[in-house]
Assembly symmetry: D2
Homo-oligomer: 284 residues x 4
Amino acid sequence: MQKIIILIHCEDQKGIIAAVTDFIVRVEGNIIYIDQHVDFEQNVFFMRLECELTNPNSNLAAIKNVFEQSIAVDFKMAWEIQPKEKKLKMALFVSKYDHCLFDILGRYSAGEFNIEIPLIVSNHQDLKAVANRFDIPFYYIPFTKDIKEEGEKQQMELLQKHEIDFIVLARYMQIITPNLISLYENKIINIHHSFLPAFPGAKPYHSAFKRGVKIIGATSHYVTEQLDEGPIIEQDITRVSHINSIDDFIMKGRDLERIVLARAIKLHAERKTMVYDNKTVVFS
Amino acid sequence: MQKIIILIHCEDQKGIIAAVTDFIVRVEGNIIYIDQHVDFEQNVFFMRLECELTNPNSNLAAIKNVFEQSIAVDFKMAWEIQPKEKKLKMALFVSKYDHCLFDILGRYSAGEFNIEIPLIVSNHQDLKAVANRFDIPFYYIPFTKDIKEEGEKQQMELLQKHEIDFIVLARYMQIITPNLISLYENKIINIHHSFLPAFPGAKPYHSAFKRGVKIIGATSHYVTEQLDEGPIIEQDITRVSHINSIDDFIMKGRDLERIVLARAIKLHAERKTMVYDNKTVVFS
Amino acid sequence: MQKIIILIHCEDQKGIIAAVTDFIVRVEGNIIYIDQHVDFEQNVFFMRLECELTNPNSNLAAIKNVFEQSIAVDFKMAWEIQPKEKKLKMALFVSKYDHCLFDILGRYSAGEFNIEIPLIVSNHQDLKAVANRFDIPFYYIPFTKDIKEEGEKQQMELLQKHEIDFIVLARYMQIITPNLISLYENKIINIHHSFLPAFPGAKPYHSAFKRGVKIIGATSHYVTEQLDEGPIIEQDITRVSHINSIDDFIMKGRDLERIVLARAIKLHAERKTMVYDNKTVVFS
Amino acid sequence: MQKIIILIHCEDQKGIIAAVTDFIVRVEGNIIYIDQHVDFEQNVFFMRLECELTNPNSNLAAIKNVFEQSIAVDFKMAWEIQPKEKKLKMALFVSKYDHCLFDILGRYSAGEFNIEIPLIVSNHQDLKAVANRFDIPFYYIPFTKDIKEEGEKQQMELLQKHEIDFIVLARYMQIITPNLISLYENKIINIHHSFLPAFPGAKPYHSAFKRGVKIIGATSHYVTEQLDEGPIIEQDITRVSHINSIDDFIMKGRDLERIVLARAIKLHAERKTMVYDNKTVVFS
């Protein structure tokens, strides 16, 4: 049976859930999963459904059309309906650090992510060998101040050519250009190696060490033009103590970065995140 | 506006959610919170809703009546509808350990629980002073093999007289009688000082120490006739190491017991737990 | 047998440990616990020992004297030697929040802390009833801009009269005066309701909510003149999600504040903390 | 400067630490790290030191000899002294699951472990491609009841030929033979996919799901003849809830298995573990 995922958000109003669930019944769908959230401060309603279409002759385009014409209009919804099995295409941007790259490619090879990775982009040659090891095409695009425009152009072309759905910055040490950000709004995932909003910017482990914190963290977030201030998708932490050096912080942090980034990729790939007001709704 | 909580479980069928949400619309309710769960192995459907009744003339008894006559029958539901503000009455059973008692009464005094505690029952006199300190009536009911029947009878009378809704065993070191268990099915909460199913029964910290575990835990669960095998409500853990003695395990465990029991009380008081197949559904 | 605790810090040099352990042998001590730490960046050595004196005629004053004359001089040590059973005297400062107060007094009554609490000081009358419940003298000292000097004077007199060793701010909502801070350097423990250095200052739960973090925290630290920037003693965290309101953050945070403050009190009372360079060494 | 690691255990006696630290001074060593533990129940003393030898002409064999002749005899110590930079040789045993294998090889390639991996042994052909990807020799040794002796013989020969120091079972689904266990006592590390001692043996995630636990775990331990009862090195846990299926348990568990096994490998490789009385001392 075909399975579909429905994501909805709109102003909170009476009767939304009843209208949506009634719609599912009408198109011969069976709800497998439903979750909703209301932000009472902003008065916004969010919903995620997974349904199986019990009629083998169901036509997804027709269903979308009905939805569009009826309740989407009635409730002024922002919405999407997608087949569950569709694999999103993900581009990996890396620089020199390899731990997140190894982790993502290991998970990818082991079949943990419902995605395709058509390419890896880097501003350095260092990780070409890792890409080769996993048989993923690797594109070296230098990216310095002088050649930024050229670099951005090459990136854009590659992304377009490979029909990339979202981008993951696996410790990519370059600022993403506003053009790229606006093209992939809420579709570029970064991993920052601190417990944001503590220690944004460069060298967070050094700052954490200097401050004498007892816990360090990592944060995955969607990239916006404000550095390290985009909507947070996932965070996790680990304990440190006075016996740990900066190198220990970095080593312990690597495990955090891996896990937190992998979770964010999985959530995004399964369309479990919605963004509103610079925050995320993350369905379980 | 009056707020109500609706709990439902029944065999999983098509159209339940649509029917329920449609019902809410008909009785002029506004859904504030909806969560549902389907156990696909057992084919059982669970749902919890919070609604506010927008019509000031809404009559709860009438609403229940309509629900009973219509969808409850249609879907063969087990269900309850309750006013959200209703405070459940909780009896505390204790023996000699005071850390959970202090914690519960401190939280109770600080207004953290939406409950009433009309009485504390104990098989020892030791904690009478603590009960007095918080002005809660304390009943000493000795409970040894020879006088078990008499003890049970006294307990039953007290519980009935005070219209007790649920019982919390805050390190009560006596087996609960089958009569009491059947009277309060899924309404007696115990705290066990291990990460169940590891180390059931007596002296779990000693067993954990002997085994050399690196993490210890605590488990709150509903009491059934099988010792420490009832449906688990909540668990939590903390790290230990070779430097910790059994006394350290006990001391660290106290914090776990406090927190895990407090969370279970809160979940039960807010009617966020449902029991099925010796497991709990815990709504968030 | 008498037990003593020895704390040492000095410039890192060759032979310190050998000299100290040799000293213990000479005074007929048996080392129960030894832990040391070297800050290689600052080149500072820290050590904590617990010893039992096997000779019943051991004289602590004499031992201190020998230590002072010999290795303390040789290695230019800052040091203290204290009987392990000595209970430190702790003053509790509170305002209106009662959850930390209830927790501390519950633990105190249950014998969890090796301390004495001779008094509670507050700038409000609200928590007098709680203090009475636990039979601890309660002093109401108003503390506004106009009467700050008078308030500080009263505080100082009380602390001196009761020979207070350290102060705990259990959600005391007033700035501590520089005079008091310098009198109790590294001896005033505050609990801040965020994961410092994120969200210092007022209303951290509101800021955390606005930022959309997935984890909130609490931090206990020694008070310095820089608000929320003193040496961190302990931190802990808990997960939150989009479904949690600010009120949920506050409620979940209460548990963190309780636990993190209780741990800091215990560490300080057992002389397991040393401060250097605005950081703590916390021995296990 | 050459760095050495010293591990000691013996009956607890007065003066051990003084004697050891004095020895270090005599051989012109500078203690970088010292940690010790006394098991007061068993009256056993454990110690781990890292020293740098400040004299460039220091001779490790000579130092060992002096140690052996003097304090090792005096205190009846079990001990070892090793150069810190020595890389242990590790054999990886796998079957069909690839997630731990990918993780270990990714970390190995990224330089996280101070080890060498000369070979991978498997009773199935499935993971040969992964081994090839990382250029590690892969040996297929079938291992069924009938050919157990032949299989064991082949394993033994390979381990001997490659001078293997320790073995890691990365979800190797075969019982290790007593011969191999006795040859590699406390040198075979297994990862079990439950929070031991809960759910030993086969299919722990299924059992955990059935029991309705709220937390699942993973445990790395040294292999002994008693299945899943060897000394525990490390454990960790993650939360689950009623919404998680057995497949979710398995997926979440994979992350635990990876992390917990990687930590155990690191601890063993850095000689931070000591085994006594079926428990581990794990130095930090």
